[in-house]
Symmetry: C2
């Protein structure tokens, strides 16, 4: 090892030691533990899949998880099958009936969304549930199939240790305002533009 390399190594160590001190101080400064209201929105991919990753993480920690699908319940998804292997630790409710342009029946869509919200409230009241995913709730709110104020009031009244993840494009500003953590999935590049079709295990 040349002297230059040794100097370089020492500089790297010093720089990284400083960064670690900053990192440790930052971690130590956060003391609050609370159930988070998390929103995954934006036009890019990854909103539902990131929620599923959190489901997996929570299951791995030994907790129970609830999932309510507000829109695409009619889809036969790979993840639903995979999660079945976790038995009663996952409460999965696929209550939406496909996207609204599939049903073409507004009254039916509204009824399905209301039923889904009742299920969500029942899961919020279940003290065994640690994480609740409200998949595509933003779509139901966007079309005014559910009353935004009522939804926000129910979310605010949930027990303090319950984490909730809401997914879907076009999250309402009032929901973003109420949330603790909001990620906007931006589409930098999409294979559909290159004529690639939806594929098993990726899109469904």
């Amino acid at each position: 090892m040349t002297e230059t390399t040794t100097d370089d190594d020492a500089r790297h160590r010093e720089k990284m030691a400083k960064r670690k001190a900053v990192q440790d101080a930052e971690v130590a400064s956060k003391r609050i533990e609370k159930g988070l209201l998390i929103v995954h929105t934006g036009p890019g991919k990854g909103k539902t899949t990131a929620a599923l990753g959190l489901v997996l993480r929570m299951l791995g920690r030994g907790h129970r998880v609830g999932v309510v699908q507000f829109i695409k319940g009619a889809w036969d998804t790979g993840e639903a099958r995979a999660l079945k292997s976790f038995g009663d630790r996952i409460a999965w409710h696929a209550l939406g009936e496909g996207f609204t342009w599939e049903t073409q029946d507004k009254a039916r869509d509204i009824a399905a969304c209301r039923k889904a919200w009742d299920t969500a409230k029942a899961l919020m009241a279940d003290p065994g549930i640690r994480l609740l995913v409200l998949d595509e709730l933003n779509i139901a709110l966007r079309y005014d199939y559910l009353d935004l104020d009522a939804v926000l009031a129910d979310l605010a009244a949930r027990r303090p240790d319950l984490h909730v993840v809401v997914t879907g494009r076009n999250a309402k500003p009032a929901l973003i305002e109420a949330a603790d953590l909001v990620t906007e999935m931006g589409s930098v590049k999409h294979h559909f533009s290159a004529g690639v079709k939806a594929q098993e295990g990726i899109e469904f």
Copy 2:
């Protein structure tokens, strides 16, 4: 039901029928099936969790999946435990040794990244693997712990039906150029700013 409501319902049906026609035509126009190179980057949360969601989806479809963690292998994560229940359908390799400011040893970090890349190549050569997650590979590339051109050449030479997901902030422009699908996770709001600490099942 009043006449106005019926008109409204009819308009809704017509609008949704048109949208469905556009949607169906769009779906029909995509004919290519190929293994995608997917990149999850950006400062927001959800990069790794969205990759995990794809893992779950692929497992649900009955396929085998490979995961190589380039950086945070020393972490004891909930998801690793959850995925163990899928047995040999998941090949999980946690090869990174914590973030580089934890090790403070550049030579060790580089050696760990090279070993991780060799493992990634072995998994790419395994015809049973349908999806390969290269978690935090972007960090390894950003610090030049791996040669970008060599990594891109290996990715380009993979078999045509293998889906690969690369995660981590600051994806290199050449990787974005090579990718089929790129999502930028933007941080709209983060609970760490409000003094909330990293919590079990959410951050780890």
